[in-house]
Assembly symmetry: C2
Homo-oligomer: 355 residues x 2
């Protein structure tokens, strides 16, 4: 008999949503999460407001977590990892191990949804020009989220409110030198959202965004980009930043204003690096264990001519969210629903065929 | 008893995919399409290659249509429209009418998926500066798709191969004057894809793209934008086009090159207007009949703080694809899967509760 349980790997937004939906259908789900808590990156990295109506990320995640926890057909395994997998669609035999512990358990699953997400690019790694490891006041989008969540957006080295804040776009994205040619899709939107939050929390601060192209696609244009400019007076400068140095207790940001066609040198109290997405270590590890093809950037590969954004190289295994590449929250939730549907459909069809 | 049939309105990519998936689960679907054929805009407007590996749109659509047609639980009603709807989740009573005919039929549905799509902005309507109605050689992305599909990309007024072709971005998008402040999301990618196709079909042609921001998010950056520049030598110019006039048998495109900070005046054989998305007449009509809230742009409104991109203002009615606003094909297919899952889950839960 084919197995009727669906295994979901990853307890972030995509994995939670897929688990919630399959559970709602009364079908059996095992949700495996490496961390000791659910909620994925938004919870682990203390995200502030979401781009969806500036709703609290914690509140939104708690709602999905609550729905999963309340569902008796969803079996949640925290602190656990998939360490081996054999078999095929309808009959995957998966070995689970407690993280940092040899003790294992064997599972039987009809289909698998991979929702192991992304990690932020480490801007100290190769792009040394921005001085992330040298200067306390050069931070990342993720660092900024934490301060914004605590309603305490300050100059890290001083603990006081900043007068001048800037965001530098495309750090770790659109960059052949570091090997990440892709665009990380969400950083323009998240930077603009944070710029609005900074202006709300520190009304006296001047906020600048240095960008190549502002990729405010769809409704982000009218819901975030226009208000950022018109209502919150965020200043967008098309330009390239070549260097950050420390001068007179402040940061000096040097580069070129592309529109004006002239060099620029501007003092800042806080510089936020809009770091891009890379596959999480969990995504790379799970792809290896499940034998899934990865693309050039080590995200899970979705077949190139596929009209199914949740397909992987292995039948019966689906991908949802940023494990497949840069995704926004709408992408992630839609993919989670689609992957849940496809996993369910597959398991149901195999059961009908076996009956 | 709650109804177990799911009604899908719209037979384009989103509606077909939702119908296919729900049908695969062995559940009853009625798929209603106003046109006399399935396939939606890609078929009706003769799209050429998709951005997914430059696969033939016709071939890809035929695959999904075939899957729907082969499924005995999917009841396809062509040339039909929903003209009335009352009731609530689990118990919608819907009146169907043959297009252009009073004859009606009453249906009972447990849930509804709206997949009524978009239409291209009409560039002759208000943006008269581009002369769409005056000059044969000013065409739209949709017009260009037709020529590219037939492998016959010519100067419309002459029937000969063009030497110089340009694309003008953001026609009908990001424009407060015409009331469409949103970004249409896909036009940068589609223009770049078409630019590549023009260079493939007319290797001697020079191709230019005039843009505000190149919104090549995610993998479009490395899969389309970089090859367009490096391999196909498409020339991207950040600039604003203010006027098109006819001069010496050619078109003269006038504007400002923003990067160089100087006026430009360039002769072209064909000008392609990258027209944006607006809600289709079907989307507006169905929203009215079903009593769904529409946003400022008359797309179907998705509640603002929702983490569900397929939610509408009315429980039991879900939206998939560009009926909810500008969407790319990945968005559309993922939303279709998610809406299918949510409709199915709802119908199954109501049946359990009633049992």
């Amino acid at each position: 008999m084919p197995a009727d349980t669906i295994l979901i790997i990853g307890g972030g937004p995509a994995g939670l949503e897929a688990a919630r939906l399959i559970g709602d259908l009364g079908r059996k789900v095992i949700l495996v999460e490496k961390r000791e808590q659910l909620g994925g990156t938004p919870v682990a990295e203390s995200y502030a407001a979401l781009t969806h109506g500036f709703r609290s990320a914690e509140e939104a995640m708690n709602e999905v977590i609550g729905a999963v926890r309340a569902n008796p057909t969803v079996d949640v395994r925290l602190g656990s990892e998939v360490v081996a997998c054999e078999g095929e669609a309808g009959n995957f035999r998966v070995r689970l191990a407690k993280s940092g512990n040899g003790a294992g358990e064997d599972l039987h699953a009809g289909a698998i949804v991979v929702a192991t997400g992304f990690q932020h690019f480490d801007p100290g790694r190769e792009t040394q020009v921005y001085g992330y490891y040298e200067y306390d006041d050069v931070i990342t989008l993720a660092d900024a989220e934490k301060m914004l969540k605590e309603q305490k957006f300050v100059i890290p080295s001083k603990g006081t409110a900043p007068e001048r804040v800037c965001f530098i776009q495309c750090v770790g994205s659109r960059d052949r030198q570091i090997g990440n040619e892709y665009c990380s899709k969400v950083c323009c939107g998240i930077s603009s959202k944070q710029a609005i939050e900074v202006r709300q929390q520190v009304p006296g601060a001047k906020v600048f965004i240095f960008y190549i192209d502002m990729r405010m696609y769809g409704y982000w244009e009218n819901e975030i980009y226009w208000p950022a400019q018109e209502q919150y007076r965020v200043q967008y400068v098309k330009g390239i930043i070549t260097e950050i140095i420390r001068k007179g207790g402040r940061l000096l940001v040097r580069g070129e204003d592309t529109t004006m066609g002239r060099p620029m040198e501007v003092p800042m109290d806080v510089v936020v690096l809009a770091v891009g997405m890379e596959p999480s270590s969990g995504t790379k590890e799970v792809a290896r264990v499940l034998g899934l093809k990865q693309n050039k950037y080590h995200f899970i590969d979705v077949p190139h001519d596929s009209l199914d954004p949740t397909a992987t190289s292995r039948p019966g295994i689906f991908v949802a969210g940023a494990a497949a590449g840069p995704k926004d929250l709408d992408d992630t939730m839609a993919m989670a629903g689609a992957a849940a549907m496809k996993a369910t459909t597959l398991v149901a069809r195999l059961a009908r065929q076996a009956a």
